[in-house]
Structures are given as C-alpha cells and as structure tokens.
C-alpha cells in the first residue's frame, strides 16, 4: 500500500486530492461531506469583502459529446455570496473538527494593500492551513479589476503576493489564469513576490454553446449570456501543458505546483504529478458525480503506484518533466510505423479513410476473397499515429518504433535548417 501523504508547501494532507475553490467548497455542509468521503483537502470557495457579491440564476453551461454529458463545463458564478463572518466561522469549525485535512482559503479582494491587510488576519485567525490567491476568475470579478484582471498583469501578481507574505504567516498559493499568452510570466512574478506555490489552471474564458432558438450564448440569463470559465475533462491538455512549462523552467525549480484542470480520475492525477505537480485539485468531476469519486482516485493511484514500485508520491513526482522538451530537441531520425493486428481488426475502415482522405494514403482497402482487409503500406507510412487514434479497437493498430539506423538528429543540426552551419572538415 503506497503512501499517498503529501506535504505541499508546508501543508500536510493524507492524500494529494483536494477540492478546488468552487461551488463544492462553498459551505461547511459540503466540505464536511467531502471530508467524510475521503478528500485530502479543500480550497474554500473564494472569500471577498462584505457586502457579499450577488450571483445570477442560471450559472453553468456544458459541452456533451456523443451522448456523454459534461466533456467540458463552464460557469458564470462569482465568488462566495455569503457574508464573510459566516464563512470564517465555518472554516474555523471545520478545521478544528478535521485537523488531519488540508483547509486552504481562497481570497479575492480589491487590489489595494489595505483590503488585503484587513482580510488576511481574519482568515489566518480561523486556523486554516494556507491561502490561495484567486487571480484567475475570468468572468464578472475581472470586470471589477479582480481575479483574472490581476492574474494577467505580472506586476500585480508580484505585488499582491508580496503583501500576503508580509501580512500573513500562512503559506501563499497563487492561482494562475490560463487566459494569458505566456504562463511563465505570472508564475515567475508570483515567485518573485515570495509565493510559496502556484496552482493552475483556473478556468478558460469560454462560450460553451450558442442557443440557436434564443440566439444567445449559454448559459443564458434572461435571454442573454456572458463568457464563463471553462473546465472539466476538455481542458486537461491545456492545463498539463502549462503545469509542464512551469515545472521545467529552471527559474522556478522546486516551486510547488498544485495541478488543476479536468482531473477526473487517479490516472489524470498521476499524469499531473508526473509532470511536476505536488498535488491536484478537482472540481468538475465531483460536481458531475459527487464526492464519492475520490474513493477510486485514492485506491486507483495507490494500486498503480504499487504496480510500479513507487512507495511515495515523491517517488514519481516530476519524472516526466525531463522528457517534456522543446520541439527542436526531438529526434528527427526516429521512425515509427503503424501495424494492424488482422485478428483484432473489425473491418470498420476508419484507418483507411482517415489516412486516405487526410493523411498519407498509406493504408490500402482491399478485398480478399470478398472480405475486407486493411493493410499498411509501410513505404508510405510517416508514423503520424492518426490510424491508431481513429481505430476503435484497443491495441488493434499499434505504432511500432523502427530500429535506429542513424544517430539522434535534432533540427539545429539538420541540413534543411537555414541556420545550420556544417562543421568544417578537418
């Protein structure tokens, strides 16, 4: 049984699964249910100044796929709409009753030193384990110069992070917005401001759909819609890339990263951790199926770690970072070729038509004794993987790496590179 305990920027929790700051962590009632289900920690839904903000009715939009619900999800909900003291009292009680779990409090107040100076002691007084600065919320609050409006300006990120370190002894996690060209800029700013960690990604600015009857973006509020924050399984690739960028950046070496974005299973979590995250935060998957999903996340991660011989999270954390390289570092002499297992082939022809119409015409559609047969034309195959992706049968089409016949060659050394200068002959 693998040890799943984590120490993230000084915050201990029994497992790496935290609930992200979002509707599931808005109240004591929800958080207690989450802890009863086994979640290792929560980031309490963002606190703000009184009087509380007001939310709209009709808050979530979703993207389904082939009858499956919620491949992607978005929301136009704002921060907590409850009075500050109500939240603080509940946080205090929860932390006292669940001392082994991580209770981190998300905060968003206006970008003035006084505002932060005022709220930070109140939060610290609850006994919580740390704070997360919401610099990511892309809708509503950003129109009031908070949330992503701060996260998109590295100087502000650094300034507010520094205030927090100055007025609080708690570990400071800066939550980053993905709605920015270069994620390294705000991440480095957070570090420069003294932040103890970053968490990412917050939601992506989005319109999930246009209602073609109402002629309005969804979710619609009285016939109109606003852009919202996109999350759920669909954003995981975007989040992985940004986490990886920070993890491999030499300037941010050892900066703890809390991975967020479409984490739905233990496997997703393992991928984020392998790419450098110290833990993960989950929201959409819990909103889709309830808190009980954490049981398989814990169990699945533990079993996988046992099967790989990893005794603790640290044993595989960041293991994939060194292999996340720039395109220019890839070996141009590597060659892989598709291979079809004819015994597994169900004759759907998808590999053929995908390759024929959109790639390299390297899968032949044959009839042998009247029966369909699809064969790879190896001379034409560039090893693009498309056929293996479209094939509906697991392991029917595999990509087979070819034996290396030449040494590794990268673009910098390729004759076609205009900047390549051949070494002078001796």
């Amino acid at each position: 049984m693998a040890d799943l305990r984590t120490n993230f920027a000084g915050i201990r929790s029994p497992n790496p699964f935290w609930l992200a700051s979002a509707p599931p962590t808005d109240k004591e009632y929800n958080v207690v249910r989450a802890f009863e289900a086994g979640w290792g920690g929560v980031v309490w839904k963002t606190l703000g100044e009184d009087p509380p903000i007001v939310n709209v009715s009709s808050r979530y939009g979703a993207v389904g796929w082939g009858g499956q619900r919620i491949a992607g999800f978005n929301n136009i909900e704002l921060i907590t709409d409850r009075p500050l003291q109500v939240n603080l009292d509940e946080i205090r009680r929860v932390k006292r009753n669940w001392p082994d779990r991580a209770v981190v409090v998300s905060i968003m107040v206006p970008c003035t030193e006084d505002a932060w100076k005022k709220i930070l002691p109140q939060v610290e007084d609850t006994g919580c384990d740390g704070i997360e600065l919401n610099f990511g919320c892309p809708h509503g609050m950003s129109e009031r110069n908070m949330g992503a409006a701060v996260g998109q300006v590295p100087e502000y990120v650094q300034m507010v992070a520094a205030w927090c370190k100055h007025y609080s002894k708690l570990p400071v996690i800066v939550k980053l917005t993905p709605n920015i060209t270069d994620i390294l800029k705000p991440a480095r700013a957070a570090l420069a401001g003294g932040a103890d960690a970053v968490s990412l990604i917050n939601t992506v600015m989005s319109i999930t759909a246009v209602n073609l009857d109402l002629m309005a973006p969804e979710p619609t509020v009285d016939g109109q819609g606003s852009h919202g924050g996109y999350c759920g399984p669909a954003v995981k690739p975007i989040a992985l890339r940004m986490v990886g960028d920070i993890a491999r950046d030499p300037e941010m070496h050892n900066l703890p990263i809390s991975g967020i974005g479409g984490v739905s299973t233990w496997r997703d979590a393992a991928e984020f951790i392998a790419l450098g995250a110290g833990n993960v935060q989950v929201c959409t998957a819990a909103m889709h199926r309830g808190f009980r999903i954490v049981e398989d996340m814990i169990d699945g991660l533990s079993n996988w770690m046992d099967s790989k011989g990893y005794a603790a999270i640290a044993d595989f954390q960041g293991r994939a970072v060194k292999n996340y390289v720039h395109w220019g570092d890839l070996n141009l002499n590597f060659k892989t070729i598709a291979q079809i297992d004819q015994d597994k082939c169900i004759k759907c022809g998808l590999c053929h038509i995908a390759c024929e119409d959109t790639s390299h015409q390297s899968i032949a559609a044959l009839r042998v004794d009247g029966k369909r047969r699809y064969e790879v034309i190896e001379e034409e195959c560039v090893g693009c993987n498309l056929c293996a992706h479209v094939c509906p049968v697991e392991n029917c089409i595999t990509m087979v790496p070819q034996p290396a016949t030449k040494p590794k060659l990268v673009w910098a050394n390729h004759p076609n590179n205009p900047s390549y200068v051949p070494e002078a002959a001796e």
């Binding site: 022809g349 053929h352 559609a365 369909r372 509906p392």
Partner: protein, 445 residues
Amino acid sequence: MTDIAAGRLPPDLLAANFSDAHPPLNPHEAVVEASRCYFCYDAPCMEACPTGIDIPGFIKKIGTGNLRGSALKILEQNIFGGSCARVCPTEILCEGACVRMAEEERPVRIGALQRRATDWLMDNDPTPFHRAPATGKRVAVVGGGPAGIACAHRLALKGHDVTVFEARPKSGGLNEYGIAAYKLPDDFAQRELDFILSVGGITIENGQALGRDLDIHTLQRAFDAVFLGIGLSGVRALALEGETLAGVRNAVDFIAELRQTGDKGTLPVGRRVVVIGGGNTAIDAATQARRLGAEDVTIVYRRGASEMSATGDEQDWAQTNGVRIRHWATPHRLLGSAGHVTGVEFMRTKADATGRAMPTGETFTLDADMVLKAVGQVFVADPLHSNGGLALGVEDGRIAVDAERRTSLPKVFAGGDCVAGADLTVSAVQDGKLAAEAIHRQLMG
C-alpha cells in the same frame, strides 16, 4: 371435448400483449445508441441491406439532431423505412453485419435507430415528398403491397401517374395482413401507407384482382408500363387425412384475421394449439396464439433449429413467449372427433445423407384444439393467363425477371414475393424501386 374460445385473457392483458413488442428509443437513448456507430467506411451494414440504405449516414444525422435529414436519407433508398425498421430480420441483415458484432457481439441497434428517424419525420413532416413535373405517362401497378407501393411511389416522384390495383379491401399487402400485430401496432401499416401516398399522383383501386377484374393484356394496352407485385396467393396444404376438420386453419388466415380484428377479446383460440412449419409465419401464428391466451402452443418442424427459415431471434422470441418448438417430426395424420380436430399424429424424422428429413416410422401424438398450418405459401400463376394466356416467363415457380425486374413481356415488370429471391419486405421494396427506375428509363428514353 375440444376447447376453442374467445376472451381467454382480460382486456388489459390482451391490450398489453398486442401493443408494441419493442418500444421506440427515446431521444436520448437514440443519441447514445447513434454514438455507438463507428461511421464505418465501406460499411458492411450497408452492403447487407437489400435496399442499400446509407446506414452510417443516417445514424450520424441522428447524432447531430438532423432527424429530418436522417429520415429522408433512409426513405430515398427504402420508402418503407418505417415498417422495415420494425419487421426486418436485422440480425441476419444490417445488424448481423455490424462491425461491433466482431468486436463485442452487440451490434448498433440499426433497426431501432431507423425507427427513431422515420417516426420523427412522420410525426413532424407528414408530407415531405415533392414530385417532378408531370410527364403524362401512366403506369399500372398490380398489387398494393410493399413492392407495388414502393414502385408506385418512385414513379410518382418522377412525375408519372400511377394506378394501383389491389385485390383486398385495404392496401399494404403483408404489412397489413401478414405481420404479427405487436410488430406493427397502432395501425402503423395504414398510417405509413397514407404517408407514402401523400406524394400524390397515385390512385388506388381496391377490390381489383388480376384474373378476375383485370388482365395483363388489357393493362399493357391501357398503360405505358405495368408492374406486377402480386405476391404469393396460394397456401401449401398438408395433403393429409383430416385436413378439413374444424379447427384446422391456415396460419396466414389466422394472422390476417387477428390483424383485422380491433377487439382481440372476440378472437377464438384453442386451449392447445399445434403449429406446423418452420418459418416466420409459424412463429407469428404460434406467438400470437399464446398472447391470445392459448395455454399450450407447440411448433413442430420436420427438421432442426438451424434449418428453420425463421431466424434465431424469432425462434428465441417464440420460446420466450412460452411456445415450445419440437424439431424432427412431420405430421402424419390429423385426428378428429365429431368433425373437429383433437390432435395430430406426427412421425419422427431424421436427416438423410443430403440433410432432407426422412420419416423414421416412429410416431407420437400431440393433443390439439386448433391446428395452424404454416408450411409455405406458393405463387399462383393462373391470373396471369386470363384473357388470352400471355406467355409470361416463369422461373422456379415464380415470375422470371432480369436484374432490372423486367419480365419476358414488353413493358411488364415484376417484383416482391412473386419473383424469385428472399421473401422479405425489404427485398420487395428494392424490387419495386429497381423496377420503377427501369420503367422511368424506358418511358423517358
């Protein structure tokens, strides 16, 4: 004492027994099922469909919510897409060929999806057809079953005027008279017919039988072309002692009466019923007898399960309904008392070297209050020869046609069960469609 009685079951149970055997997919189920289709290239299901429906194409459209486009894609190849969705033996056609069979032995439910699309169109756009400008050509169609109506519809679309001559009081052929009630409930055959005829340009004359009220010779002169879709009007007899006893009926008559009777509680059925035969007619008769309230229903077939022309799914369906199927026995003698059947003496059979059933001499008897004969229907050629006896070519006991469904007579085409080939609604529709295309080429050529 023989025991034949009506009203064996309470009305609510009878109503349930003759309602939709396979209720439709709801909209969400349909989208989820549609997502199981891989949208195969060179799809095997399409090749297995006698009418060549673009199955991946129509399923994809269900997934995108384009139900109108989906239904029209089905109907462009098979105007009886609605009834075929309900009655086709999909397990030996499209669904049997589905690539998911190879993968998991659970095909995409193509029939149910086809029903989803066609039902939607009939409910939401009951007159979707548009005719080409009138050509002034007139075509006679003899027989208002699936072959004839499919032919008529396509000709009407192309601007020709069509007169359909149908012997029975209602059109629809086997869809109206020959299919089990729970497969086409809620008067679906007539509703579909009205939907198809909404194209316009088709006149139906019921009560007009070839050989009695019409003859080919006259039709040939009065019309620019003639299509014969006259089906199989004869029923094979057992040719056994006792066949005229009361309680012995043709299964097709039993089924037709059942279809035409609104109140199933008025239909007499035996307490013990023996059905002789191995095709879908035997299955439909036996299962419906059970569902009318017969206690003990046995199908007896002279060969084994795999030789039955009823599909495996149909056999399973009958057995699920409590019908017993006995193989390798052939009727030897019908037993009676006071002019009424009381049982059937069977002789056990076994396969000879060529697989034919040979009597063994050993017998057994099944008690029966009602015996339904389902040993096959036959083509009756006599009506073709009325008024001068035209020399219409015959092949394997049915009308001979070429690939375009052209007979040996000029301007005369034929299709459906009266020509050689599979006796399926879907095959009849294909015949009618191909003949219509050939007639159109000939008329406009």
